[in-house]
């Protein structure tokens, strides 16, 4: 229960205790508030919250709804996504070490998925999931292996390894958490929570400044990105899922304007299904350091158009046929570019 706050058991437990946010000013609840704040800080910092086995069981359980309340109260879209991702990743780690029956139990009760173990264990594909449930989540992963046609599908069931099922569940849980933190919380918060909220807000904007300064240093002027790449870049920062072509475009563009592959990998690890190893491989592949050793250039405007990545049919750009040329054109527009930096930054922050 402490591990998996998304289960019915956990929410029943929380309800059973019957606490309200108003009680939180009492000193005995300080550990819960501390842990709730920590969860959010972890989300902002590393994008992965850790399970604190050392903490009191009750603290671990109760701190989750409190941190949800804090995220909702702040209402920052970036934080919402980061928090959902971070809590989901924490659960991914925990699920990986569970036995098959526990995993099946959690998937069928908490996510209400049709999941089963296969009768003939010992094969690599140990689990079965109903294709409808599979399709709720898997299409947001871009790797070819998640395409339905590349799976074994028999009698409505998709065959999965344990690792794959856990990955799917994590994504399902992330969706769930995103929904939970979505509605704005319009309550008058008790003092203890208001204080923490302020701290979190401050840390968040600080962190965003660092992120911005760190992510794409010196070489790339974000404000001069053509609109299509600006949108891709901002989606990436916001932790949104980007299509395969979108990723390829962004990666090859960043490489072309002089951003190092390590920096790009760091950028990408916030993505929905990013695995650092795979991302590194993909980035290096595009950089021409792997596989065919071809260095890829970003797709042309017409290619971007066919993939629906072009913004407003190029009306915001000069008469160019390639995003790199538009980038250089914008760079030349000196003063205007500087204004664009400020504006681009505002957007990347997800400010309303």
């Amino acid at each position: 229960m402490a591990k998996y706050p998304f289960t019915r058991e956990a929410s029943q437990y929380v309800e059973g205790i019957g606490l309200s946010l108003g009680d939180m000013d009492k000193p005995e609840f300080a550990p819960i508030l501390n842990r709730a704040e920590e969860r959010i800080f972890e989300a902002i910092k590393s994008g992965e919250s850790k399970f604190r086995e050392d903490l009191d069981y009750e603290v671990e359980i109760l701190s989750f709804p409190v941190s949800v309340a804090l995220v909702r109260a702040l209402g920052d879209p970036f934080l919402k996504r980061r928090f959902a991702l971070s809590e989901a990743r924490r659960i991914q780690g925990l699920l990986s070490s569970e036995g098959p029956s526990k995993i099946v139990y959690l998937a069928s009760t908490a996510l209400k998925w049709k999941v089963n173990m296969k009768a003939d264990l010992g094969r690599s594909m140990e689990f079965l999931i109903g294709f409808v449930d599979y399709l709720k989540v898997a299409p947001s992963f871009h790797d070819e292996k998640w395409k339905l046609i590349n799976r074994i599908v028999v009698e409505g069931l998709v065959h999965l390894t344990k690792e794959e099922l856990v990955r799917l569940m994590t994504e399902g849980i992330r969706h769930r958490f995103e929904k939970i933190v979505e509605p704005k919380l319009d309550l008058e918060l008790p003092k203890s929570l208001r204080e923490r909220l302020e701290r979190i807000g401050e840390f968040l904007s600080q962190r965003k400044r660092i992120l911005k300064a760190e992510e794409l240093p010196k070489v790339a002027i974000i404000g001069s990105f053509p609109p299509c790449l600006k949108v891709l870049y901002e989606s990436l920062l916001a932790g949104k899922s980007i299509s395969h072509v979108g990723r390829f475009t962004l990666t090859s563009f960043l490489l072309a304007v002089g951003v190092g592959s390590d920096e790009i990998v760091r950028l990408f690890t916030g993505l929905a299904d990013a695995d650092e190893r795979i991302t590194l491989y993909q980035v290096e592949h595009i950089a021409g350091r792997r596989g065919s050793r071809t260095k890829y250039t970003p797709p042309s405007c017409s290619t971007l158009k066919t993939h629906g990545l072009c913004i407003e049919n190029g009306s915001l750009c000069g008469k160019v046929r390639h995003p790199i040329i538009e980038y250089r054109r914008r760079l030349r527009l000196g003063q205007k570019a500087k204004e664009a930096v400020a504006e681009g930054f505002e957007k990347a922050q997800g400010k309303p």
Partner: protein, 419 residues
């Protein structure tokens, strides 16, 4: 001839005849049409005769109300939404989408048949150039995109469409585990089949999920690496047969087996395998089938290298994919022809196929909406066609007496006039 003359489908006499026939049909039986389930949550659309207007966003409470409307207005074509809406009469963004049936459209348009080169024709409305077969995107003479297509449908086209529908059914039943009760197959009344899947759980699938199902059925994005063809160059263990448990694994193996059992040197060469290797394959056919059957390593077959195996595998996949119109399935707001209603281009009805009877189904019999009659028509030009047990034509510049259904087909197709 024929096409070059202005096809005068809007002539009043023709329209009067078609409308009168349609009205007779819709009046003859309370069950002329089959209303969809949850009728009040569906949007209906109708195409009118003459000005070909599309009337949309209509809604009905019952089959009787719907039929009364059709009797009163006599549309050329009737459609309903695959989707369920809170209020089907509002604009698209405000309707409140609640879900949609899963619909597949198998149309001869999407299947390359040899007969099309004979019976399909087109004419450029700009420079009058005409040609046979499917229309090009642009006229090769003047580059205009204004091209009028005249599509016929022959038994070969309809057989081809049926085969695709059967392959799709196989995938829906075996791979997706749908129950036969959830699936209803119809002949569209023109060139193909519609497969409707109504199921609570499938209703909520979004466009992306539907696209995945389409890709699965059409074999799009299939990566052989996930089917054991990991390393074509090393060619150590091209198929991991132990994983061959169903789905596309079974299908690929079955396709290989079927093709190799009957392949000739010519048919192998046709799919791009060298003559020497093709001869080797035919000579060692039994041995190859044995290797396949007993799940042996494929490199056990001498002379048959990884490249040739890949060609065989690709071909066997190609033979088993279901060619469907992907847009129809992924469009969750799509309007679908109403079962039982008449097709404005043929006067044939959208006829339902009894469960399990698709293979033996005769579309040119089941969809005939009128029996008897004798109508004098002038036919400019028409290929031969069959309705029920009777065959008509071919016609060219002929005045003739035809049963009502045949006359209707000629007039709806714009190939002749009522006299």
């Amino acid at each position: 001839m024929g096409l070059r003359e202005k096809v005068d489908i809007s002539s009043l006499k023709n329209i009067a005849f078609i409308k009168e026939s349609f009205l007779d049909y819709y009046r003859a039986s309370k069950n002329a049409i089959r209303a969809p389930s949850d009728i009040s949550k569906r949007e209906f659309g109708f195409q009118t005769f003459g000005d070909r207007l599309m009337v949309r966003h209509r809604s009905f409470k019952s089959q009787e109300e719907l039929l009364r409307f059709i009797q009163a207005t006599v549309p050329s074509d009737c459609y309903y939404s695959a989707a369920y809406y809170e209020d089907p009469t509002l604009e698209m963004e405000e309707k409140g989408w609640l879900g949609a049936d899963l619909i597949f459209d198998v149309d001869a348009d999407h299947i390359p048949t040899r007969c099309k080169a004979i019976h399909d024709r087109w004419i450029c409305l700009n420079c009058q150039r005409e040609g046979r077969g499917s229309a090009p995107d642009r006229c090769m003479q003047c580059g205009s995109q204004k091209i009028k297509e005249e599509q016929w449908f022959c038994e070969e086209c309809l057989e081809a469409a049926k085969l695709e529908a059967l392959k799709l059914m196989d995938i829906l039943l075996l791979d997706f585990g749908l129950s036969p009760e959830e699936i209803q197959v119809y002949f569209s009344g023109h060139r193909g089949y519609h497969i409707h899947v109504e199921s609570e759980v499938l209703r909520e699938l979004d466009q992306i999920a539907r696209k995945e199902i389409v890709d699965y059925a059409m074999g799009l994005g299939l990566d052989l690496a996930f089917y054991g063809f990991k390393d074509v160059i090393a060619f150590e263990n091209p198929f991991d047969w132990r994983r061959q448990e169903g789905g596309w694994h079974r299908r690929i193996l079955q396709g290989l087996y079927d093709f190799l059992s009957t392949a000739t040197v010519d048919s192998l060469e046709e799919i791009g395998i060298k003559k020497v290797i093709s001869e080797e394959i035919v000579k060692n056919r039994d041995w190859i089938l044995k290797v396949l059957w007993e799940k042996g390593p494929l490199n056990a077959v001498k002379g048959l290298g990884p490249k040739a195996w890949e060609k065989l595998v690709r071909y066997s996949i190609d033979r088993q994919v279901a060619r469907i119109d992907s847009v129809v399935t992924t469009d969750i707001h799509r309007l679908i022809r109403l079962p039982g209603s008449l097709h404005g281009k043929t006067g044939l009805m959208k006829a339902s196929v009894e469960r399990g009877e698709l293979e033996a189904f005769d579309p040119m019999k089941a969809s005939v909406a009128f029996q008897g009659g004798s109508i004098r028509v002038y036919v400019r030009e028409s290929s031969q066609f069959r309705l029920g047990d009777e065959t008509f034509g071919p016609f060219k510049d002929t005045v003739t007496e035809l049963p009502r259904a045949a006359a209707l087909l000629i007039v709806c197709k714009g190939l002749g006039d009522i006299l």
